[in-house]
């Protein structure tokens, strides 16, 4: 599918100021209906995506996602994915992300290049064969990064929160990096709560209600978490996308934690670690919730006016959830039990 395009080769190009360029061989991919003949529709975190590709592996990967009827809905965005075996032979690079205005570029291992056009709501990707059919690549990298980058322009706000569900109620666990969100989410999962996400949750609005989506991504825990979850001892920590050494595992397969894709958030806990023993829930004012999410969300460029106002609307809806600051000096399992008891008492009190 690739062709070596002798972009400047042979035909020497002279810039106006006299510099000569020659001998550059480039791989060029023109994305159109001829090069990407296969089409399918799928749902990713509640958004509807039209996928165009030249690869059966990509079709297979997207058919594992929930389909939507193209007859009744317009796609929220398009993904144009070209798979090229020539990319497999090129040297590997580490993950790298940069953006400016409406364009975002991502280099992902193995040897994948993805460009996001936030104005036109399009994703252009050149993937090697090694990535196209790899479930881990799709669920750990491509899908979360795509919704993370594109979400606010297609009606899904990515929030740096864990999300679980218990008795039909969605519970968001927020907190600064390193507060222990993933560890507490895992501990709650082991108590029988269903897990949507341990790290990034994608929040939208449906019929004036908040709705949260997870992408079945692996859970990431730092190596010291083996103190609390001995099952991790059978796994090997590996460098994760940000370079940290971490355990990354499928929570259902490794710990029999139930997984869910969708929930309706009603409660938010802002996790704070303390050295003092005990576990305390301090009710939050609406202003605290608003300020927390405003201060901890990615800056968006001025060009994406609708995205900023959409996210502000979601933050406003989040501020109406019942919220507490959770200060804990206890172990993850003790903290999880305390949260479960607290919410049970709260439900009884309100009943």
């Amino acid at each position: 599918m690739s062709r070596a395009c002798h972009f400047f080769f042979g035909a020497v190009f002279r810039a106006r100021f006299g510099v000569t360029v020659d001998g550059i061989v480039t791989i060029t991919h023109a994305f159109d209906q001829k090069t990407l003949p296969f089409r399918t529709h799928c749902t990713i975190a509640g958004t509807q995506c039209l996928v165009s590709t030249n690869s059966y592996d990509v079709l297979t990967a997207t058919t594992q996602l929930q389909a939507f009827s193209a007859n009744h809905h317009l796609p929220s965005f398009e993904m144009q994915i070209l798979v090229d075996g020539a990319l497999d032979a090129l040297p590997e690079h580490s993950a790298y992300f940069r953006g400016r205005r409406h364009l975002v570029f991502a280099l992902l291992p193995p040897r994948s290049f993805v460009a996001y056009d936030l104005l036109r709501k399009r994703v252009h990707a050149a993937l090697p064969l090694a990535a196209a059919g790899d479930r881990t690549f799709w669920h750990s990298l491509l899908l979360p990064i795509t919704i993370g980058v594109l979400g606010t322009v297609v009606g899904v706000a990515p929030l740096h929160c864990a999300c679980l569900e218990h008795h039909g109620n969605g519970v968001l666990l927020a907190g600064v990096s390193g507060a222990g969100k993933s560890t507490l989410a895992t501990a709650l999962g082991r108590l029988g709560w269903a897990l949507l996400s341990d790290d990034w949750t994608y929040v939208s609005e449906r019929q004036s209600r908040l709705i949260a989506y997870g992408l079945s991504s692996p859970v990431k825990l730092l190596p010291d978490a083996v103190r609390f979850f001995t099952d991790l001892a059978t796994l090997t920590p590996r460098p994760s996308l940000n370079g940290e050494l971490a355990y990354e595992f499928d929570p259902h397969r490794s710990m029999q934690i139930a997984m869910k894709d969708i929930s309706y958030p009603r409660y938010i806990f802002f996790l704070e670690r303390t050295f003092a023993p005990g576990c305390y829930m301090v009710p939050c004012r609406h202003e605290y919730v608003r300020e927390f999410f405003r201060k901890n969300t990615e800056r968006l460029p001025d060009e994406l006016v609708g995205a900023t106002s959409f996210r502000e609307k979601i933050v406003e809806m989040l501020s109406a959830c019942r919220s507490w600051i959770l200060r804990t000096g206890e172990s993850p399992s003790r903290t999880a039990e305390a949260v479960a008891e607290f919410l049970q008492e709260d439900r009884h009190a309100r009943a």
Partner: protein, 153 residues
């Protein structure tokens, strides 16, 4: 041209480095195209004579934003171009990622710290000129304008 170090940019809420300041600005005339270049690194400004004295803005203006990325290391890799409609994106490893938006008339590029000024001037600048020229030439508005000019002549 002397190499200049660009200070590392840190903003935990701007992981994509969208808001790296690009305070240096110059205007160039490349053929029929007037290019306004913005950058954070003096050595990324093309060494052609600038056309800052040209009055006003023209319909053919094009904007380049060239960001020197202090955190991106490694040398330029063979370019891979993806073109789709009005957008062309190019990857040369993390040493250079760029996008040309024909409709927005802008070229955005991140250039790694290991790309020397000479490599930039002798290879990247002509490459950017070429991409800009092709983008402008394929713009139907420009074709229309050129036809009108030729007719008037």
């Amino acid at each position: 041209m002397p190499e200049r170090k660009v200070a590392a940019y840190v903003d935990p809420l701007d992981l994509l480095r969208r808001f790296v300041p690009t305070p240096l600005k110059a205007v160039y005339q490349f053929g029929a195209v007037r290019v306004v270049v913005q950058t954070n690194d003096f050595s990324l400004l093309p060494t052609a004579s600038s056309a800052a004295s040209l009055p006003g803005s023209s319909e053919r203006d094009f904007e380049w934003v060239l960001v020197r990325d202090a955190e991106a290391t490694g040398s330029l890799q063979p370019p891979i171009l993806l073109t789709s409609g009005k957008l062309t994106v190019v990857e040369m490893g993390s040493a250079c990622l760029l996008g040309v938006d024909q409709e927005q008339r802008e070229l955005l590029a991140f250039i790694g710290s290991d790309v020397h000024a000479r490599t930039h001037q002798e290879f990247l600048v002509p490459f950017l000129c070429r991409l800009t020229k092709e983008s402008v030439l394929s713009d139907p508005f420009t074709h229309l304008e050129r036809s009108r000019e030729e007719y008037c002549r």
